[in-house]
Amino acid sequence: MIIEQEYPDLTQWPILTATAFYWVQTLLILIFLGLGIAIFREVLLRFLDTWTSGGIGSALIDLPISILSSLLNTLRNLAVSVIEVLALPLGIRRIWAIARLSIQEAVRRRVLYVLLLFLVPFLFAGWYLPTAEEAQLRVLVSFTNTVMGWLLLPMVLFVAAMSIPKDLETKTIQTIVTKPVRRLEFIVGRVIGFMFVFTFVIVIMGGVSLAFIYSQVTEKVLKDQWTARVPIYSAPPENGAYSFVFFKQGVPSAVGTNVGREWTYRSHIEGDTSDEARWFFHFDPKKFENADRVKVGVTFDIFKTTKGKPTLDTDDTSGVWASLDFIDRNNPENRIDEAFRVNNNRVTMIDIPASVLKSGDILVRARCLTRNQYLGMAKHDIYLQANEQPFEWNFAKGMVSLWLKVLFLTSVAVAASTVLNGFVTVIFTVGVYCMGIFHNFLVQVGSGQTLGGGPIESAIRLVSQMNQTVELDPGFFRTVAKTFDPYLIKIVGAVSAVVPDLSTIDTAEYVAGGFDIPTWLTLRNIILVVGYVIPVLIAGYLLFRNRETAA
């Protein structure tokens, strides 16, 4: 499958430490920002009050006292907060009481009727599902994922964002906070309760989706694609080495020939030359101990410099021919040579004897055999199939991504709703979510890499329909843009630092492609989101603590 970006394995200790540092930083940024604003506001108001009542002189004299008392007050508050955060586990029964309440609320308010709404798209689904067998699973999985996302996320958003504002509005919060419930316990209880409900919804939706997919695909797809292959990808033979390398005229190189494809994921080697690509595989030799034959999946791109005559796929002249050499690195005598035809956009499965893999230290050499044509390849284009898992289990693992998104939305919405009203919370949360999904773009804007300048400049271009590459005309607008854009860009950069990159937690591609979702990827996603949710909830707690719950 296509893996464009490899993520650091978050479960590794050094990386985990770095990530933890990132969360702490996020938390600190949020706290300092919030407290700073609060202190500033308090001091300013007191200053203005004293000014109106006693003149500027007394206001100025009062100023240091007011700053000091504000600071002390804040510090005392913080100290109490830290204690409450640390004491959170003691409130487990109260948290559960709140969570239980949230579940009861969702059930009795018929929130679960959204499940019925969920069935509607399936009525129309048959309309535009493809007939090609190789497309069915792909389209069905992305279809069900989209439907689930589009139905679940708004529901999550509204349920989570409206709950605390509703408590405030109906003043039920007043009977809660006058009980020994800590406000952090209240927030966490709410989130946990909602997550129980949403988990239930996800399980039901996932089950229905799976049944739907199962009912829609044809026999052949069930036989061939209803699986989750566990691939072994190439790995560096020794520390610091490449796991995948090109050889152009015998010289190693990180990339092959550039044939001018816009998408540079794959690099090409020329046919009928000495050019080749090499992969190093390094794995536990026991993996294939009991196997007789091993399947190898190959996905190469073909680039033809001559079109040739049109061919049916059965013709010998169709496609481009490639050869793969599997060589035991410990015993070069132990090798096997496979030639096969590559047709575009298709995975070729080849079957090799397991004996050649028995050392667990393998070199694979690929060459293009057809003259004048090119083969494009990338690191993840060859894999050894170690195992197969049930598709259903993989589908369930894929649901974890959706669950994490729901957790993220719930936490952000609940935290934000402690200070914002329901509707603003919804908008805010959607905003944060979009920033998470389009995080790459945000980073680009924040580092000033986008074409067409910063926010103001872009706005001017939008309105004036001016080309992105032409300098703005000198004048008032240009001055405004050039003056303020750098600051705005810095702000966007800061925002991009506190919003997590949600685009990376998607695993639908694995499920649809029939590849097992690696456990470390699931773990990484969980760590990424849960680790983010904790500071968010703490920030929400601090905001809530400093909020009056009655008007």
Partner: protein
């Protein structure tokens, strides 16, 4: 009874501001008062006088602009104090999708009360507030009076030492009001401290040991109800079966004494008069503590009474 202060307000001030920090209302100005253990304390005032604000400040629902609110020796914003207090809000703000039993069970859980204990107490409280027939019904189906009752029950679920009641009798029929008052007195009998606020003077007069009268955020009058209502230069005589000659004789004696006969007849609700007088006075002289007139007026139509209570006397 004296000396054991459970609730204290020191120079409690609350200013409501809008989003931009502009002053909207001075809800409360420098309120100082204490409530002692075992008494029923009433906060009295017209709508918008600051009594509910005071209660909310004491509960930590609002944060004071300046001054301190202490409950059981702890800051009002300290959650720990909540273990020992109960609160019945102005209207019963309850989760409408829960039944009476579930409501009490839920609030009981918030106090970490064990399951058996929760069951026992909620049964007891439902019985006490007279909702046994509706224990399984959802709160949203309750009438206002029933909601008040279950509201009171949830305030008492933890057997609190101090109970804050915001307009406890509002929405209740006369019998309900009577029962509520009995309940309050009952609480006192059990040694609880009750802080309540109301604009229904009869309630306050009937049950409260001491009251504070607030108007426009200021404390106007504060003291024992009996003291406040004792009118030093007024003597009320109630006689049954008095003959006309005896009546003339009494009038003569009064005239000899240099006093005037104000009225003879059925006395009106006394606290109401005091209250109206304070409000009128306060509107005429904002920002001043109520000063009782030394000499009574002569217009009988006003039903004037004079009180001798002065701020310093407390």
């Amino acid at each position: 009874m004296a000396g054991d202060v459970v609730v204290e307000a020191r120079n409690l001030t609350k200013i409501y501001r809008d989003f931009w920090g502009r002053k909207k209302v001075d809800a409360l100005r420098s309120l100082s008062l204490t409530v002692e253990r075992g008494e029923i304390f009433g906060l009295l005032g017209p709508n918008g006088s600051g009594k509910t604000t005071t209660i909310k400040l004491l509960l930590g629902l609002l944060f004071p602009t300046s001054g301190d609110a202490l409950v059981l020796g702890k800051n009002a914003t300290d959650v720990a104090k909540n273990e020992l207090i109960g609160y019945l809000p102005e209207e019963s703000y309850l989760y409408k999708f829960l039944s009476a039993e579930e409501t009490l069970d839920f609030y009981g859980r918030l106090f970490n009360i064990s399951r058996a204990e929760r069951k026992r107490r909620s049964a007891e409280l439902i019985e006490q507030v007279g909702l046994s027939h509706a224990r399984k019904r959802l709160v949203k189906e309750y009438s206002k009076g029933m909601a008040r009752r279950i509201g009171l029950a949830q305030a008492l679920i933890n057997d609190p030492e101090v109970v804050f009641l915001d307009e406890p009798t509002s929405g209740l029929d006369p019998i309900g009001t009577r029962e509520m008052k009995d309940l309050i007195i009952d609480l006192k009998a059990k040694g609880k401290t009750v802080v309540m606020c109301s604009h229904l003077l009869a309630d306050v007069q009937d049950v409260c040991d001491r009251v504070a009268i607030l108007h426009q955020g200021e404390l106007k009058e504060y003291g024992r109800v009996s003291d406040l209502l004792k009118i030093q230069d007024l003597t009320e005589v109630r006689i049954r079966g008095l003959s006309e000659s005896a009546k003339a004789e009494i009038e003569r004696i009064i005239a000899t004494d240099g006093a005037t006969l104000e009225s003879m007849g059925h006395p009106t609700t006394t606290l109401e008069d005091l209250f109206l007088r304070i409000v009128r006075e306060s509107e005429a002289h904002p920002g001043r503590r109520y000063l009782p007139e030394r000499k009574g007026g002569s217009s009988g139509t006003d039903g004037d009474r004079k009180t001798a209570a002065s701020p310093s006397s407390n």
